[in-house]
Amino acid sequence: MSRWYRWYALSVAGACAWTLWTGWWITPVERLTGVPKSVRDNPGSYRSHYSGYHRYYGGK
């Protein structure tokens, strides 16, 4: 147990430090390339991966 835990603890501490330093997080983000230059002048020329979202109308 102790030998296993030693490596486990070091891994967790290492992962924590790496995550803090690199800014990694679990937020789902699409990294895209090939975005047209014209988006700035014509925002409609690009459609988000997440657009077209239709939700259930909430509330009680």
Partner: protein
């Protein structure tokens, strides 16, 4: 000392304070000091020596007593008598004396017989142990005071005091064993070691033992098959969960400090700088709802970007698709977030759900010039919202998550260890959970 007859190591017992007898666990012979014997022994016709004295190695005399009905071996130089197995019982019968040795009061001076140095030290330590209890009444004073015994550098905790009764006797003993004999037994443990004290009258006999795994016993006696599986926890059984537990908590502490230290360091070097703040407004009647913000610059190393959305959703929902677009390349980071805020009252009680505000983390954003493209969907007639961006923000939840991940297995190991100990002590005079029914009331 070796047995003069079979050369097996002799075991010493204290019959009464200061009076010792050595007996052979192999051939069951007994060695007495002549000075301790109170029974008359008129020796006749020394015969050729059968054995050498276990103390001085010189030949012992063999003589007869009680008209030749018993033969004893004596070392006149050391003052020792050797009785073969069964001869003690014959001597008792012939002499009519039940106790062959003098009964001394506790504290009476008595020179120890010739013995190995280690054995003498052992006796000294035994004499420092708690004194024998009286065999009066059924009360158990140990139950409340939980005494300890120190022996050979180990501290033994009291486990149980009981009064076993002899129900049958087989074999030969260097003492008179009778059915109905009772003794007070006190067991002390320091796993895997156990010490037992047997008290009968004024006699107290200590014995030491060590727990062996069933496999060791099976192998030692070359028994066929495999040993039966263990049931419960033996008093001196080593706790398998104790091994390395302190090491586990040491590494937990070390890793926890490393995690907190990483966070402190990241907070110290992280800028948390606000790099963008902008507002957007979309109406339900707008044909095109996508908007772009001003270009802003992210400097330094690759780090996270914290976006804070502040909307005016009210009894409405909104889903905001966002793209963080690099103004100088064709790269983009695409993500989205939903917000909703509803409230009302039901049966006289107010309720609310959702929020107008939201914070999200965009991970690993390289340095560069960026602008934000937003495209909201909403059921509100008019949606206004602001976006604030800060870069390189250390997340408090990260070290907290790491601590939880570190704590879980360490806690589990400790609980297993504790559970094992609870099972062990359940059968003792000192159970961890009261068994007097108080919990049930």
């Amino acid at each position: 000392m070796p047995c003069p007859k079979c050369k097996a190591p002799l075991e010493r017992h204290e019959l009464s304070p200061g009076i010792f007898v050595s007996h052979c666990p192999s051939c069951f012979g007994v060695l007495y000091r002549a000075d301790d014997l109170v029974v008359p022994l008129a020796l006749v016709g020394p015969a050729p020596a059968r054995f050498d004295c276990p103390s001085c190695r010189r030949p012992m005399e063999t003589a007869k007593s009680y008209e030749g009905q018993i033969e004893v071996d004596r070392c006149a130089a050391c003052g020792l008598f050797w009785f073969d197995a069964g001869e003690i019982q014959i001597l008792r019968k012939l002499s009519g004396v039940e106790n062959l040795v003098e009964e001394r009061e506790e504290g009476a001076p008595a020179a120890p017989p010739a013995a190995a140095k280690g054995a003498a030290e052992k006796v000294e330590k035994e004499q420092k142990a708690p004194q024998p209890l009286e065999m009066s009444g059924a009360s158990n004073p140990d139950e409340h005071r939980a005494p300890v015994v120190e022996f050979e550098g180990r501290v033994y905790r009291h486990f149980q005091t009981s009064v076993p009764v002899t129900t049958s006797v087989m074999g030969e003993f260097p003492w008179v064993a009778k059915i109905g004999d009772a003794a007070r037994m006190r067991d002390f443990i320091c796993p895997p070691y156990l010490i037992s004290q047997e008290i009968t009258g004024k006699d107290a006999t200590w014995s030491a033992g060590e727990y062996l795994e069933p496999e060791e016993v099976w192998t030692a006696f070359a028994l066929p098959g495999s040993p039966p599986s263990k049931i419960g926890v033996a008093p001196a059984q080593p706790n398998p969960w104790s091994a390395g537990l302190s090491s586990v908590w040491f590494w937990f502490g070390l890793a926890a400090v490393a995690c907190v230290g990483s966070f402190v360091f990241a907070s110290a070097v992280g800028s948390g700088e606000r790099v963008y703040e902008g507002g957007f407004s979309v109406a339900a009647t707008d044909a095109e709802r996508s908007r772009v913000g001003e270009i802003f610059e992210i400097k330094g190393r690759t780090a996270n970007l914290e976006l804070t959305l502040n909307t005016n959703v009210d009894q409405a929902w909104a889903y905001i698709s966002m793209a963080l677009i690099d103004a100088d390349t064709d790269r983009a980071l695409d993500f989205g977030r939903e917000l909703s805020y509803y409230y009302g009252s039901e049966d006289g009680e107010g309720w609310a759900e959702g929020s107008k505000y939201e914070t999200l983390i965009v991970p690993r954003v390289p340095p560069g010039r960026y602008y934000l493209r937003v495209e909201p969907e909403t059921d509100a007639a008019q949606l206004s919202f602001s976006v604030t961006a800060r870069r390189d923000v250390p997340l408090k939840r990260l070290p907290l998550l790491a601590l939880a991940l570190l704590l879980a297995p360490a806690l589990w190991a400790s609980l297993r260890q504790d559970s094992f100990e609870s099972t062990r002590w359940m059968e003792s005079d000192h159970p961890r959970v009261s068994s007097d029914g108080e919990d049930d009331e």
